[in-house]
Symmetry: D2
Subunit: 309 residues, 4 copies
């Protein structure tokens, strides 16, 4: 996301627009955590993971008083428009705020879960995928005994995007996705199939939102059904959200920041930038928040199944 921040700052400066950074998102608008940003503020941040402006949940922003305070603060700071980077919580806050106070807002979709409408890819998704497949590659190296099954739990909230991509990219033998609601039985079949093939070991990717309750739970159930299995569990956790951003995310973030400023200059507002195919587009926040888009790639699902036959 730092690539996006850098692009916003430098594109704005190119158009002689002053930029104020706000720490801790909406909370920072309430607490007046402002910082002037110039060209130098964003030098050497494009390779940094995380975000230099930090982030935070903000309950106060959900109240009218909170938003009023925020508005007064940014007005007294001389801020005329906002670029908000985040997930659907950020989008929701931006939409409400921008309706209440008529301040132009452009959003940039930043979350590893890739579950936002209005874009094919969110910032952080490619980096997270690369982190997960590196972990899977390392686990694959240790596969040398028979009857060993590795359960790897990956992030995504209720989205199976990372699980599916990393599962295909890592050559996982089975993937448990929330969207598919597959029970343990399918997984047990996969395990029997792998054993019949005399496979040395097996890697199973479990999305954290999977309805069966997470890697430890599934491992427990599977162990009861097939006791001779040697089951190992990894819960990757927050390392999926950090690390130096990938090339794809840096380019995408840079494009998104650039487009966000240009769109604001064109008078666009209450929208999010996104990438559709190869085109940078904008989508009204209303639409982005209300559209129920099944983000799982059907073709990739079909491919995942074939790879394991």
């Amino acid at each position: 996301m730092n690539a996006a921040i850098r692009a916003v700052v430098r594109t704005a400066i190119y158009h002689d627009i002053a930029v104020t950074g706000i720490y801790h998102g909406y909370q920072g608008m309430i607490d007046r955590e402002f910082v002037d940003m110039n060209r130098r503020s964003v030098s050497s941040i494009i390779q940094k993971g995380g975000t230099i402006l930090k982030s935070a949940r903000c309950l106060d922003f959900k109240t009218k008083e909170g938003r009023e305070k925020a508005y007064n603060n940014i007005k007294s700071q001389g801020i005329d428009a906002l670029v908000a980077i985040g997930g659907d919580g950020t989008f929701t806050g931006a939409k409400i705020f921008s309706e209440e106070y008529d301040i132009p807002v452009m959003c940039i979709p930043g979350t590893i879960d890739n579950d936002l409408c209005g874009t094919d890819y969110t910032l952080g998704y490619d980096t997270a995928n690369n982190t997960v497949i590196e972990a899977i590659d390392k686990i694959r190296d240790t596969a040398s005994s028979h009857n060993r099954v590795f359960f790897v739990e990956v992030m995504g909230r209720d989205s199976g995007c990372i699980a599916l991509s990393a599962g295909v990219g890592g050559g996982a033998e089975a993937i448990l996705l929330p969207e598919l609601n597959s029970g343990i039985d399918d997984l047990l079949d996969e395990i029997y199939l792998a054993e019949s093939r005399n496979k040395t070991s097996m890697i199973v990717i479990i999305a954290e939102g999977d309805k069966n309750g997470g890697a430890y739970n599934v491992a427990k159930i599977v162990k009861e059904k097939i006791p001779h299995l040697d089951i190992k569990v990894s819960i990757l956790g927050h390392l999926q959200r950090g690390g130096a951003p990938s090339s794809f995310d840096r380019i995408l973030g840079t494009r998104m920041g650039y487009i966000a400023v240009n769109e604001l200059l064109k008078g666009n507002s209450k929208a999010t930038v996104g990438i559709r195919g190869n085109q940078m587009v904008t989508t009204p926040l209303e639409e982005a928040l209300n559209t129920k888009e099944l983000k799982l790639d059907d073709e990739l699902l079909a491919i995942a199944n074939i790879m394991n036959k």
Copy 2:
């Protein structure tokens, strides 16, 4: 490219089609370097860099006799169709061979240069970009003295794609691209600009096909013009072609292999698979080889300039 090989093999097997691997490309067709491939042949290759089937230039294939020998060999081997992975040399050979002998051929674009028509991205491009930005990140760490300029030469033959992407992703202060034919003067201006900003150091990306003759040459010319500069040169070389493939390349390769087989099954031939936006497409080899497509992304070029103002 191993992801593509794996997908071809497993998709074919899914359709009860036998697969023969050919080592060393067209040379292997002439030298009878055949190997039966089954499900197990492609286990654990998706994370490997390079290609398990090796590759080679093949001059013999450019002759009628060479191709005749190749055809007889593959026919006696029982091969009915070909999937060829490579760059435009591979495409050209595939087109000619497939016209001469009426054997169905699907190509998969595999080269880091991203200069093939028919696809937005070639296999290996994303991985190479990630390798280059990792190198730039490390160089950036060492930037602590004034007046220091790092010249980093990257691959791409006559294409500036990697130079542009990695230049933006790495936050390079200047990028020399073959397509733009910029002379040294523009670069000297950038250097003066950076110095006036009291920048600690500066990273310049030079595409290997740049008309000014490569990083060492440019460094020499610049040193003569601005003698007080401390210039350091890195020629990244072939490490850009290796390494574990990125998540993006593994998914893309898997898709391409899957589509290639499906297209052959549908009777498609003399074409290359590719990705356009989000869609997997095929493009006749005739068109892919003859279309002069300027692959440099204008929007990214514009962004690169603004990032450095």
Copy 3:
């Protein structure tokens, strides 16, 4: 460990000694999983994680019958001496076998836990440390909210070596080690201290052998005591055992393989190679197995405490 295998093979070949590789350790001696090894068998393996000869637990080897079968097999295969790579299970088996049958054996200490006597460092330890600090670095990137504590569980069986090294290298705010038997109270104090310093977030490394029961357990207890904390847990798992070996491990493995063969040639047996300071040494298996060496580095412990004051 592949570096060691490669060094054994090439050093033996240099002395005109034939080498037979045995898959799956002692189990492979019983099952006759032999493979001739020559110079080419070990090309391009030095960068591979895991071990090309696989590994396995072997219960049969613990029985006289199992060992007798193993001995007959290796004798009929023409094997005159053994190099066994592994942990204390491997050492124990080697010692017993070598006493029963008077066959020369040299061991090489290969385990990430670094808890073997006879050597300052075991093969795999440095690589595992690097893997863990990379994970900690990524988690550190995501630290932006207050009151957030990350619990990272690392391997080591009953050894806190990795936890201590990676804890210091990753700048962790607290480390729970089995050897110290620290209760949760010390950890709670650290958390209060970090909060008083207004630290954004905190990383706690927990060795898997810690007496408090693992990261999830500790997280539960801490959450009850300090409910406002936002606790995130990562269980790194087996990725710590894989991945391309580090430079240190490749050099160490190569030295160990080389010394193992030389020692056998000098008539040494029933011993393990090891590194003490800078010297390669050998230690009789008897001594290596019976000596209770507290492997935790007192100086590093003291340093870890000071870094967090």
Copy 4:
């Protein structure tokens, strides 16, 4: 080196000693580039490559006037002792300064070249080795054609330490070291040998200080002698000096910083800390600078030769 800075700061604070950081080394002492350092100044720097205090050559410090100015500056700043991190240039300056002005100085050996006396390992050496073997691994992936030779030039000034370590760790087929003064003939023999073995390709590591003049020069000479070779050259350059420090370097740097402060507290001065075997030691600067220690590891040299027979 940031690990060392962090350890100096936190160890000093532990002993209630105030710390002033000086940017740009000795130049900063002359230009008064001082910064108060507290506990927070060194949070989150242990994973950063480079050094937060920057570095610079300083010609002025070689003059009496320059040193006088520096001394007055640090005295007025209230500085009573110095910790200087760097190579032999740093050591020399420290020794002279500390003799002239009787101010206690401890040095910490920080250079990737590993050519300083008084220590087995310098800070940055392990990280550089890991960077080089990653590059070699990637190049190895691309090796698929016959008759291809890759020349990789690595750093080290006049030291072949990195070339030897990375050459062994990367499985290079030949290594050119300054200390050995081997001519091109030995290299040509190695190439003929590899060809006779039908090796697909070959990696040659060339230390930058090698007397034959660098990778491009050697490549030229070899190409003239064996024209059918396809020679590719990589000059790794300054990426070897950057990147996140390895686990080994972080621990070593932390120890060195800790010891440096403790030694100053004990009244030690005009010395450098170092690691000998497993022990942290100090060596008088006089001795460290005047001892001609051949740093190449004879055992490793012997091993390198055997690995390639």
